[in-house]
């Protein structure tokens, strides 16, 4: 119903073991959804699946409106070479990839937008600094600036505030809320339940299967959280072949 991203009986996993199991539902246009759940519950896997970085074991992801490359994606920090000799400005300019591509020019408007984005994350004056000389919090600000420059209608954030200091978290969270006001669709994997309750209207509680998906207050109930604990992180070596996939 008005979903920008629709999951249709989606199963994602590794070596045939499902990390996300028969998940169906939709992320509405302009929604701000927190994805929470135990470690190994399939939160990051779900984002990778939406990005097409992981092929579904069964089911599918349907995009209504945006193309895959219109989605901005912030993976967990470990995935990039933070020592690479690239400046803050160049990194943020890459946000314009959708328009400039591999060969196009970064025009004056793009430069201006990049500078604005760097200002917006509180890094004015850092344009010429190398990424490797920044703290992890500052680096996260740079990556948020790159997403701001990208101006994407859909934004996926994988644990954006993990190992980030409180002030940076507050600043970046404010930016996320502003993106939400601008009507973008945002999905964020988070751990801090308080933060989710306070700022995120919708929540998907994921422990391989959806324990709850909807209004945050209705999802983060005592009963649901208890159920989540019990689902645990089991990876059953001797798991039988799933009988539900007869679609």
């Amino acid at each position: 119903m008005g979903g920008v991203i629709e999951l249709d009986d989606l199963t994602l996993g590794y070596e045939r073991h499902p990390a996300v199991h028969h998940l169906s539902g939709a992320f509405a246009a302009g929604s701000l959804t927190a994805v929470v759940g135990p470690n190994g519950g399939g939160k990051s896997t779900l984002l990778k699946g939406i990005m097409g970085l992981l092929r579904p074991l069964s089911g599918r992801v349907r995009l209504h409106g945006p193309e895959r490359r219109d989605i901005a994606y912030l993976p967990q920090q470990v995935e990039m070479d933070s020592d690479f000799p690239i400046t803050v400005l160049d990194t943020v300019l890459l946000g314009h990839w959708r328009r400039a591509g591999s060969f196009g020019r970064f025009d004056r408007a793009m430069h201006a937008a990049a500078i604005d984005a760097i200002d917006a994350v509180g890094l004015a004056g850092f344009e010429g600094r190398l990424l490797g000389s920044l703290s992890s919090g500052q680096r996260q600000r740079v990556l948020f600036a790159r997403m701001a420059a990208a101006d994407s209608p859909v934004i996926l954030l994988d644990e954006p505030f993990t190992a980030i200091d409180a002030r940076t978290t507050a600043d970046l969270l404010a930016l996320v809320l502003r993106w939400h006001e601008e009507g973008r669709t945002i999905i964020a994997v988070l751990h801090d339940f308080d933060q989710v309750r306070r700022h995120f209207p919708a929540t998907l509680l994921l422990a391989r299967e959806a324990i709850g998906w909807g209004e945050t207050a209705a999802v983060l109930t005592e009963a649901n959280l208890e159920r989540m604990q019990r689902m645990g992180e089991a990876w059953d070596q001797a798991a039988e072949i799933c009988g539900r996939g007869a679609a």
């Binding site: 990005m51 970085l53 895959r68 490359r69 989605i71 901005a72 994606y73 993976p75 995935e79 990039m80 070479d81 690479f84 000799p85 690239i86 400046t87 890459l94 990839w97 959708r98 591999s102 060969f103 190398l130």
Partner: protein, 295 residues
């Protein structure tokens, strides 16, 4: 003629006097233009040892060329090119489509290739031939090989200009590259082709083993002087060129083999950079402890 008193003459005289020295110099300069940036990207991709791997991988092709056409540089280059491309592309593809890491898959293919090369060389030919394949003969560079080396340098520079941005992104943030639909895999394979091409060019002049030296040493040394990708490449090219010039002059005056002389000169630049380079060198570390910025 006192050499020590007139360094300019020491440097210029060998090239003024002999055509083969001039050709060797031009070959080195052309080689530097292509291998410099290739080396820098290899370092940035944490693939510094891949150059070495490729040098060995080229061997069976060169040996087949040698078997078919004797000591003919074009035939051996063509063979080396084919062998190198096969190893590079197979390794690259295996890495992309399986969980085998890049270094492991390169190791597997290059070892197969090297063994095949040694086998082929030992079937025919003697140790002198093998030495020639391994260590090259820059002083015997003829017009054909000069054209080949220059052609490869030209292709390399034009290709780098074309794939620069996607290649940088692919090195720096591969997940981003895939997420925005960048041509990551293609660019990576094109880059591997460039590595092989430059290895073959170096093989002409310096032999398979020494070619890696001129590719990697200036690239590693450049990190002590420059801070972003284009300036790293510029410094590496300049250093490789200087190594060619000084190394050739040195080998001429001291009557030393030219390939090792050139690579040892490059090694000297590396050690010098390590000691007194502008960034992060030993000297820079000692000085920085005393002087820091205000904010």
């Amino acid at each position: 003629m006192s050499v020590a008193l007139d360094p300019a003459a020491w440097l210029i005289e060998p090239f003024a006097a002999f055509g083969f020295m001039r050709r060797a110099l031009v070959a080195c300069l052309a080689l530097a233009l292509g291998s410099g940036p290739v080396g820098v990207f290899l370092v940035l991709r944490r693939m510094s040892l891949i150059g070495d791997t490729m040098a060995h991988a080229v061997l069976p092709g060169a040996a087949v060329g040698f078997l078919v056409a004797g000591l003919s540089l074009p035939a051996m280059s063509l063979g080396g090119l084919v062998a190198g491309l096969v190893v590079a592309l197979l390794s690259g593809l295996v890495t992309r489509f399986t969980r085998v890491k890049e270094d492991a898959s390169f190791a597997a293919f290059f070892l197969i290739s090297l063994a095949a090369g040694v086998m082929i060389v030992s079937l025919k030919g003697n140790n002198v031939d093998l030495m020639h394949v391994l260590f090259g003969s820059i002083l015997a560079v003829d017009d054909t090989s000069l054209l080949l080396v220059a052609g490869i340098a030209t292709i390399s520079l034009l290709t780098f200009a074309l794939i620069y941005r996607p290649l940088v992104v692919e090195c720096f943030d591969p997940v981003f590259s895939r997420a925005v639909g960048g041509p990551g895999t293609t660019v990576h394979l094109v880059f591997l082709v460039l590595v092989v091409l430059n290895m073959v060019a170096g093989f002409q002049a310096l032999g398979t083993l020494m070619a890696v030296g001129l590719m990697m040493l200036p690239a590693v040394a450049a990190r002590f002087w420059a801070r972003d990708v284009w300036s790293l490449a510029a410094v590496a090219v300049a250093m490789a060129m200087a190594s060619g010039l000084l190394g050739l002059a040195w080998s001429y005056h001291a009557d030393l083999p030219s390939g090792p002389a050139i690579v040892l000169t490059a090694g000297g630049f590396y050690l010098l950079s390590l000691l007194v380079g502008r960034r992060d060198s030993l000297a820079a570390r000692l000085l920085r402890r005393r002087r820091h910025l205000e904010g």
